[in-house]
Amino acid sequence: MSGPTVTLTADPTGPTGPSAPPSGSYRTAPVPVWSRVVHHQLFWPVVALVLLVIACGIKNPVFLDVEIRDGHLFGQLVDISRYAATPLLLALGMALVIATGGIDLSVGAVMAISLAVSLSYLDGNPGAGSVGTVAVAVALGILVALVAGVFNGFMVSVLGIQPFIATMILMVAGRGVAMLITKGQITTVTSPPFKYLGSGFVLGVPTPVVIALLALVGVAVLVRRTALGMLLESIGINREASRLAGVQSRNITWFVYILAGVLAGLAGIVYGAPTMAADANNIGLMKEMDAIMCVVLGGTALSGGKFYLSGTVVGALILSTIERAVIIFHIPSQITPLFKALVIILVCVAQSPKLREYLAPRRRRSVVAAAVAAPAPTKEEAR
C-alpha cells in the first residue's frame, strides 16, 4: 500500500548514510535479494505476525480454518481481522499525524465522545430502528469527532503548540465531555441498523473489516496517488523548509489532525456498535496507545518524516493476534499487556539502527560505526 519509491530504500541506515537521496536507486552495486528482504521495513513486523500465527496454529490447529457458515466467513482469522478494524481505523489517522512529526493522544477520548453523541441521539428516539435515523446519528458522531480534530489541528498548526501536549488537553478533557453528554450514565439503546455497523456482514465479510478496508483504500489513494503523502513527509522532516519550499504546511497539518479525528469518530462507532452501550469512562481507554503501537510496529518512526500504511495494517493485525493468542494459550487475558510490551520491545530493538550496525557484515561495520559515532542527530541518521 505504501508507495514503492519509499519502500525500495532497502536499508536507510546503510553506508551511504544521510547524504543519500531518498530514492531506491542510489546504490551503485546491486543489492542481493535476501538483503533487500531482510532490510525491508516490513520484514520484522511480518516475521512477528507470521510467528504469532504459526504458534497459535500449532497450539490450536482449528485456528487457521476459515469456513463459510450461512454465507458468512467464520473462523479465528476472521475474528482477528474484525478486532483489528478499530485499531486500524485509529492507526491510519495516527500514521499520517506521526508522519508530520506529531502525535494524537486524543483519539481514545474522541472515540468515547463520538459514540456518546451517536447513542444519545438514538436514545429515546422513536425512529432508532430506521436506517435514516441511524445515519443521522452516525453523521452527528463523526461531525463531533471532526470538530475535535479541528481543535487539535488548530492548536498544533496555528498556535504551534507541541502535538503531544495539544492533544493531551482533549485526551484529559474529552472523557469528561463524553461523561457530560451521557450525563454520567451508561447510555444503552437498541437499534438493529446501528448494531449492524459493528457485528453485521457485507457479502460474508464482517462490516468492521469492510469499513476499515474502505478507509484504508481511501487514505492510501489520498496519500499515495496524490502528492499529499510526500508533502506530509516533507513537513515531518523539516516543517520550516517545506513551508519555504511552498508546501502549505499549516493547512496540511491541520487537515491531518481533522482526518485523524474523523477516523477516530468512525472507530468509536464501529467499536461501540456491537454492544450499543456508551460507557464514556471505558470506551477507547488506552486505545491511543494501541494505535501508536500499530503505527510503530509497522516501521514508522515516531520522529516523523516517513510513514508506512502497509506496515500499519500489519501492526494492527499483530495487535489483535496477540489478543487472540493469549486466549488460545489459556493465559489469563489480563496479562495481554505483558505480551504487547514484549512485542514492542523486540520489534523496536530489531528495527533499531544500533542492532543493524551490530549485525552488519564485518567490512561494512566500521563504516557504519563511524557514521553512527559521528555526532549526527538520531533523526537524520534514521533516514
Binding site: I165, M168, G176, G184, K340, I345, P353, K354, A382
Partner: protein
C-alpha cells in the same frame, strides 16, 4: 507563526551573576522564563481567592488544614511529577510511572504477608521503580528508541506484571506498614486541626533534593543542557556527559515512581492492578501547569510543586462545589489549555 521550531529554551539561572541581590531577584521574577511560573502562582492565588470568597464563612477556606490536606492527598503525585520534571527537561517523556505505581503497591501488598521485613519491602518497591527507569533509559540511550515508545513498552510491561501478581485489590494489613502510614504530628485544635505525616515529609524531601540537584550540581546543568542543544549533542561537544545523563533521568523518574508507589500505598492501604491508569498524564499535566516546557530545556522543579497544588485545588473546589467528578477532567483540560497557550504566547514574544 507556522513554525514548530522547538520552543526557545531557557538556561539555568546562573548563581554567579554579579548583580546586587535584590535586583537579581527582581530581575529573575520579571524574566521571560519565569513568566509561566508567575502564571501558575497567580492561578493558584486566584483559585484560593475564589475558594475563600465562596466557602469562607466563619471558618477560613485558606488555612493550614487546606494546605495540609492538599499535600497529604497529592504527595504521591508530587513525587511523580518531580521525577517527570527531570525527564521532560531533557525533552523526553515517561509514560510508565502510573503502571509502576500500581505494580509497587501490589508487590508491597503481596510481599508483606509473606513475612518479608518491612524495610526490605520498601527498598524493593523503590528498586522496582529504578529498574523500570533503567530499562527505559537503556532503550532510549543505547537503542535510540523514542522515549515515548520505550516508556510505552515499559508501561505495558508493568501493567502486565501487575496482572500477573494479582487482579484483585489486596488490602495491606501489616501493622508496621499501618503505623508508618498513619504516623503524623498534629497541630491546632478543634476542627482546624492539621497534621504533618510521613508522605508529606518524603514528598517535600524529594522536592528539596530535586531542587538542589537541578540548580546546584553539574548533573542538573547537564539535564537542562540535554534538552537544549540538538538532542544533547551540543553539550556533548562541551564535554558534558549527555548520554549518561539521558539514562539517569529515566532512572530518577523510575525511582520517584517507586517512592510514589509506596506513598500511594500509604494513602490507599491497598494494592490494586488498575490503580494509576492515567496517573502519568496527571503528572505530565502538573509539570506543564508548573511551567516546564515540554520541548525540554526550560522550567523549574519548584514550579512543578505549585502545579501539583493547582491540580489538587481544582479537585477540592469541584468537590466543594458539589459538581460531579468528571467536571474535574474538563476543568483540568481547560487549565492546561490556558497554560499551554500562555507558554506559547511567551515563547512567541521572546522570539521577536
Amino acid at each position: 507563526m507556522t513554525t514548530t521550531a522547538p520552543a526557545p529554551r531557557t538556561s539555568t539561572p546562573s548563581p554567579s551573576e554579579k548583580k546586587p541581590m535584590v535586583r537579581r531577584r527582581l530581575g529573575r521574577f520579571l524574566a521571560p522564563e519565569f513568566l509561566p511560573i508567575a502564571g501558575t502562582i497567580l492561578t493558584f492565588v486566584i483559585m484560593l481567592g475564589v475558594g475563600q470568597a465562596r466557602y469562607g464563612g466563619e471558618r477560613s477556606f485558606i488555612s493550614m488544614k487546606l494546605f495540609s490536606n492538599l499535600l497529604q492527598d497529592n504527595a504521591y503525585l508530587l513525587v511523580l511529577a518531580i521525577g517527570m520534571t527531570f525527564v521532560i527537561l531533557t525533552g523526553g517523556i515517561d509514560l510508565s510511572v502510573g503502571a509502576v505505581v500500581a505494580l509497587v503497591g501490589l508487590v508491597i501488598a503481596t510481599l508483606l504477608p509473606m513475612g518479608v521485613p518491612l524495610p526490605v519491602v520498601l527498598v524493593i518497591g523503590v528498586l522496582i521503580g529504578s529498574t523500570f527507569g533503567l530499562l527505559i533509559g537503556v532503550l532510549v540511550q543505547y537503542f535510540n528508541i523514542q522515549p515515548f515508545i520505550a516508556s510505552l513498552a515499559a508501561m505495558f510491561l508493568a501493567r502486565g506484571l501487575c496482572n500477573v501478581v494479582s487482579v484483585q485489590s489486596v488490602a495491606i494489613k501489616d501493622e508496621g506498614f499501618a503505623s508508618l502510614a498513619s504516623w503524623s504530628v498534629k497541630f491546632g485544635e478543634g476542627r482546624d486541626i492539621w497534621k504533618i505525616n510521613l508522605s508529606m515529609i518524603v514528598a517535600l524531601a524529594v522536592l528539596a533534593f530535586a531542587f538542589y540537584v537541578l540548580h546546584y550540581t553539574r548533573f542538573g546543568r547537564t539535564v537542562y543542557g540535554v534538552g537544549v542543544g540538538d538532542d544533547g549533542n551540543a553539550i556533548q561537544l562541551m564535554g558534558l556527559k549527555a548520554g549518561r545523563t539521558k539514562l539517569w533521568v529515566y532512572v530518577i523518574s523510575g525511582t520517584c515512581a517507586g517512592i510514589a508507589g509506596i506513598l500511594f500505598a500509604f494513602y490507599t492501604k491497598s494494592g490494586f492492578n488498575l490503580t494509576g491508569i492515567g496517573m502519568e498524564l496527571d503528572a505530565i499535566a502538573a509539570v506543564v501547569i508548573g511551567g516546564t516546557l515540554l520541548a525540554g530545556g526550560g522550567g523549574y522543579v519548584l514550579g512543578t510543586g505549585v502545579g501539583v497544588l493547582v491540580y489538587g485545588l481544582i479537585q477540592v473546589l469541584i468537590a466543594r462545589e458539589g459538581l460531579d467528578s468528571w467536571w474535574t477532567k474538563v476543568f483540568i483540560g481547560v487549565v492546561l489549555l490556558g497554560f499551554v497557550i500562555l507558554q506559547r504566547v511567551i515563547v512567541t514574544r521572546r522570539k521577536r
